[in-house]
Amino acid sequence: MVSRVPMRRIARVLALALAFAAGGCSQDRSGTTIRFWTIGREGEVVAQLLPEFERAHPGVRVEVQQIPLTAAHEKLLTAFAGDALPDLCQLGNTWVPEFAALGALEPLQPYVDASRIVRSDDYFSGIWDTNVIDGMLYGVPWYVDTRLLFYRTDLLARAGFDHAPRDWDEWRRAMAAIKAERGKDNYAIFLPLNEFEPLLNLALQQPEPLLRDNGTRGNFESAGFRRALAFYVEMFRNGWAPPMSNMQISNVWDEFARGFFSFYITGPWNIGEFKRRVPQLEGKWSTAPLPGFEGHAGGAAGGSSFAIFRSSGNKQAAWELAEYLSAVEQQRRFYQLTGDLPSRRSVWDFPELAQDEYARAFHEQLEHVVPTPKVPEWERIAQEMRLMAERVIRGGVPIDAALRDFDAKTDDILAKRRALLSSKPGS
C-alpha cells in the first residue's frame, strides 16, 4: 500500500514539531537551580518546606532528588567519579570522613562563621563533632539518629516488668521472661541479620575504641568488642532473637503489632512510622534508651548532615538553603512532619518534643552518643562486621576465630590508609 503524504502535511507536522521543541527550550535562564539530593524518606517531606524558601529567594529553584538508602553510597561515589555531584546533599554523618578524604566536600567553617542562624553551640556536641574531620568542618547536622530500644509495654508487663530494662542483666532477664511467656513461635527481640547497627551500638557502649593506631588497625579482639559480640550472639543462641534478615518477615511494623517480637532496636523515624502504620498499638509501646553495660549508656552518633560539594557552581545558594533548613522554626516543622529528631538543642524545648514520651528517651541518649571511627573505609568495615556476626550466628564459627579473622580483614582494608599515613610526614 503506497500512500504519498502531501507536502503541505509534512510542512504542518514539521512546524508543529519545531514549535514543541522551541517551547521546550525556552526555560527561565535568569534564576539559579539548586540541585539537592536526599536519601530516604526525608526527601518526600522536605519538599513541603521548600515553597517558603523559594518565595524568600526569588529566582532560585530547588530541585530535589530522592535516592534510596541502599543505592545512595554507590550513587554518590559514581557521581563523584563522573563529575555529576549535586550542589547540596543530605549526607549520613558516618560517610562524611569518606567524602572528605575524596576531597569532594566544601569546608563549611567560613559559612558558619558568617551565619547568624547556624550557631555551633546550639547543636549536640557529639553530633557536631562527627562532621569535623582533621579539624575542618565539612557538614552541618540536619537531624540526629541514634538507635533506641522500642518495646511493647503490654507484653513486657505480662512478663512481669513494669519498666524498660536499664542495663544488660535486666535486659537478659526481661528477654528470657518474654520468650518463656510468648512461646517458641515468638521471640523477645528482633535483630535483623542484614543490619550492622544493633551490634555497632552495643559495641560503641564499650570503653575500648573500635580501631586503634590512629584508625589504621582493627581493635576487635579487645575485651569490649568481644563482650558486645558475645552478648549479641547470646541473644540468638538462647532463642530470644530469630536468626532472620528483615526480608524474611512480612514487615517490622506488622510483626511488632502481632507480638512476634517485643524489643526492637531502631531509630527515630520509626516513631512516626509506628504511629502511622499500626495505630491500633497506641498506648501499648514506648521507647527507652539502650540499656547500658555497667553504667556505660549510649549509642552511635548517627544522623544526616548538609554537605556542599566542592564541584558545585551554586555554593552560596546551596548554603542559603542549608541555613534555611537549619533554622529553629524549620527544624521544628521538619520534626512535626517526619518524627526525625532535630540536631539543635533549642528545638527540643518546644512542647511537642519536650512532652513527647517517645522522644524523651532519645534526648537522654543524645547526650551520650559516640561517633563511629572517622576513616573513609568505615562503611566497608561495618559491612564486614555484619558478615562476621552472621558467620558466628548462622555459620557456627566460634567467636574467637571470627574476631581474629575480622581483625585481619580490617587490617587488610586499612592497608592503603596505613601506607599513605606513614609516608606523610607528621600525621
Binding site: 542484614n194 534478615s245 524474611q248
Partner: protein, 293 residues
Amino acid sequence: MSTQRAAWTFVTPALLVIGVFFGLPVLAAFVLSLTDFDLYALADLKNLRFIGLTNYFDVLNTPLFWKSLLNTTYFVVVGVPLSIGASLGAALLLNSPLARCKGLFRTALFAPVVTTVVAVAVIWKYLFHTRYGLINYVLGHVGIAPIDWLGDVHYSMPAIILFAVWKNFGYNMIILLAGLQGVPQELYEAAKIDGASAWRAFRHITLPSLRPVLLLVGIITMAGYFQLFAEPYVMTLGNPLQSTYSVLYFMYEEGFTWWSLGRASAIAFLLFALILVATRALLHVARRSGEET
C-alpha cells in the same frame, strides 16, 4: 576496485566501531587491572601505583573469590542442564501434533524472558517467603515442612537456580523449536513403520538432528550463566552467608561499591579466562562425540 579492497571498505567502519567501543576499553581495563586504583586514587590520581600482576595474585588468594567461583560453578553445573532440559521439554510440547493454541502457549512460555528481573524478583521473593509464600503453602499440602528458601544456605542457591531457569528457558525454547521444525517428518514416519517407540525415536532421530542447535544453545547458556549477577543481586544480595555470591557479584562489589577498580578489572579478566576455558572444553567434548563445529 578489487574484491578484496571492496570487502575491506565495507568491513572497516564496523571494525572501527568495534575497535573504539570494545577493543580500546578492554585494553584500558587490562591496564587498569595492573594498577591499584581505589578510593584514594579516585580522590587524587597521584595516589595511583602500577603494581603489575599483584591484583591477580591477590584475588586468587582471596577465599571469597574461590567461594564465589564455587557458587557460580554450582549454578552452572545444575542450572545449564536444567534450563536446556526445560527448554527442550517445552519445545517438544509445542512441536507435538497434539498441541492446541500453539501461538498462545509459545507467547506465554516466552513471556518470562521479556520481564524485568527486578519486578519478577520481588514477586518471587514473596513466593519464596518462609511463612507467607505460595511455594511453602503448596509444599505444606504435600506434607513437606516449610523451607527457608532465602535464609537457609542449602536452599538459597536452589532458589536462585529455580528463578533463573524459569526466567530464561523461553529463549532457548524458541531456538530449539526452530531446530525441531527442521527435522524431516519422513524420519519419524519411517521410525513408526519400523516399530520404534516414542522414546527411541527421540533418542535416535530428534537428538542427533538437534546436535548443532543443542551445542549452540549450550554454549550460549553456559557463557551467560557464568555471568550470574542480576538474580542474586535483586533476590538475596549474595546472602545468606554469601552462599549466592557469584564471581560477577564479587566483581561488582569490588568495583562499584568499594571502588577498587584495579581488583575488579582483574576479576573480570579471570572470569573471561574461565569462560573461555569452559566453552573450549564444551566444544572439545562436542567435537569428540562426532560433531563438526
